[in-house]
Symmetry: C2
Subunit: 400 residues, 2 copies
């Protein structure tokens, strides 16, 4: 598997991208509308937010995926089209219809994603005009892909892209992806969006399964502030243009699975690294858990603890906060069997602190916390970031 | 029911309190050790942390409660005696033994509570000396009670006490309480402790039941940072010295229940008001839920949302964050049936914003958020505070 530099979602064969401005963002002319177009026969799969206030575009897209002939995705940033009533649902449908008209397909073959402010109706005429312009200018050039990765952003520090080329000689395929989001952390703004394209040939149900599994170890394994948005969406599109059939052998399927997971995990980690206020990427690895659920609960409790995140921000190797979070995580273990290491320093063992110094392990932009529960064979990893005063500033500094 | 000003836990008949310094805190001579002593026949009940890393004193006390002849509680602040191995358990026992010796009872008749830094062995000889001094000086004077409410503090802004006098003529009784804690929010420090005394006569099992129920609507209905500590303990002691038997009639039992809940809720709210970094007390009230569990989940999700707490800090009436938290709370509802009000302003109705201005509702030191889920008859209230930069400062500013 070979990592691709400066990958874009139009690098796999069979995809084009176009962008335009509908005036949804503060700066005039800033890109806020994009289309990702696919050739006939493209498989599409999606994983969506479980939030009960799912936005109109989420409701539209999840109704039509998985699909065996997805032809396009209409995206806008700057407005989430969430909590917008029946009009919002009409707007989501009209976004799909406009792209469908340009592609000569039905609206049901077009997925829709929105991200931005909640509770404001879309200026739909402007969005339709921008979508039309985006379709007309769509191309498979690297520049078009790069512009696309910028058009979907809201408060992100920069675009997040990833790509790999995998497979054996004569059976090569490509998986690329782009994402936006930094937790639901900006005022009124929401959402993590991710788009994955591949030229491998994958039946829609298989793509849906693999996407669902991949989410567990990528986007479901990160936390910024614990808030799940109304618009979260992960889409995958498989054009089959490489001619490599993922179902042709067990090995090919495995290779594709690995490539897909690699791209998803890379994008998920980029989201944490780029989270507002974040200065450190923190990896919380739990081993020795009695069940997979225990492993995940333990990792999630530590990674979500405000006290832990504050301590990491201050480069304070405060194992007491790790112990505390493990204790209320619901994971089963005997306190005396737990071992905790911060980087290379084992700070807690056999129910008490070892006295090892660990503050130097927390300097720099990345740190790892290893927790062995001594209760079984299961493991889990969560990625999170530190909690800084900048986070509070960003999220409290916007009094209306 | 009459609220008592400057109530202390020795106001109900049958209790004495004494304090001393064991040198556990930074300032030399600062009070850090206390005993609450009871006459023979005092009923005792306790509710303890569910954290798997329960501290040694918690393990000791929960083993011996409820009890029908509790004679004392030994308390120290400045050191949690948590994650201290077998030696920690020996220290907890020795604290009970020292007080037992002074009272002429067995160690099992003495409960133990500790709060402070995790993972450091107690200087047990100093603690024993201080406990002895505290026992010798114990009194039922108001001054002794006030000193006691100070001796149990760690990073608290000040003592938290509450008391009521209730019952009908000729059948009066008193319920008083004191608490410490501001969430598990200070570096290495932990814990909420609460001590309630009454001169009503209450069988230990009844006291245990009522205490457990009371916790649901008081200490389990507040959140500062969501971290449950290793040492959390709520104790209730009933001396029976007033001669009022709570079991004598249904009305008396009801009156006692109301008095107990009132004291517990008052103390719980004082903890939120005094939380480090907090500038606002926030009341999140959910009505119209399909089940009690739905009501609690919804209230807890909103009250625990970092984004919501940041917005409140900035006096930003950001209903989008309330909607978002409700959506992932797990509570059942139809989005279009939800109504959200901030103070007197209804900001969200029938699935969309009303456009009402609400920022003026957030000025001042208290604010209420009302959420009607439109799905049933159940309700729940949570109290929380805003999330400020001070919180991060306090919890990250202690690099070792």
């Amino acid at each position: 598997m070979q990592k691709l530099e400066s990958a874009t979602v139009v690098q796999p064969q069979g995809f084009r991208m176009g962008c335009a401005s509908a005036g949804l963002k503060k700066t005039k002319g800033e890109l806020d509308t994009a289309v990702l177009l696919a050739e006939e026969g493209t498989a599409g799969a999606g994983v969506f937010t479980t939030n009960r206030f799912a936005a109109a575009p989420v409701r539209w897209s999840r109704e039509h995926l998985p699909a065996d002939d997805l032809r396009g995705v209409a995206v806008n940033s700057g407005n989430a089209n969430a909590c917008t009533g029946p009009k919002g649902q009409e707007h989501a449908r009209r976004m799909a219809e406009l792209v469908a008209e340009k592609c000569g397909c039905s609206a049901e073959q077009v997925a829709v994603c929105s991200t931005g402010i909640i509770g404001h109706p879309l200026p739909i005429a402007d969005v339709e005009a921008a979508l039309g312009e985006a379709c007309d200018g769509a191309s498979d050039s690297r520049a078009a892909g790069q512009k696309g990765s910028e058009a979907i952003l809201t408060t992100d520090r920069g675009p997040k892209t990833s790509g790999v080329r995998a497979g054996v000689d004569g059976e090569k395929f490509t998986v690329c992806g782009m994402a936006k989001g930094a937790g639901m952390i900006a005022p009124h703004l929401a959402t993590m969006l991710c788009f994955i394209t591949t030229d491998a040939q994958v039946p829609p149900e298989v793509l849906q399964d693999m996407l669902g599994q991949g989410v567990q170890n990528s986007f479901n394994a990160i936390t910024v502030d614990g808030d799940r948005s109304t618009n979260d969406t992960v889409l995958a599109l498989a054009s089959g243009a490489s001619g490599v059939d993922v179902e042709s052998s067990k090995d090919t399927r495995k290779r594709f699975g690995r490539a897909l997971r690699s791209v998803m995990q890379d994008l998920a980690i980029q989201i944490v690294q780029g989270a507002e206020g974040a200065s450190k990427l923190l990896r919380v690895q739990v081993t020795g858990a009695r069940t997979r659920e225990c492993a995940r609960s333990a990792a999630r409790a530590v990674a979500s603890s405000l006290l832990f995140k504050c301590a990491m921000h201050g480069e304070d190797p405060n194992w007491g906060r790790v112990v505390c979070a493990l204790g209320y995580s619901g994971a089963w273990f005997e306190p005396d069997d737990v071992t905790i290491s911060i980087g290379a320093a084992t700070v807690f063992e056999e129910g008490r602190p070892t006295g090892a110094k660990a503050s130097s392990e927390l300097q720099g932009s990345e740190a790892s916390i290893y927790i062995d529960l001594g209760a079984g064979q299961h493991k889990a990893t969560m990625w999170t970031c530190d909690l800084s005063k900048d986070y509070v500033d960003i999220n409290a500094g916007y009094a209306v």
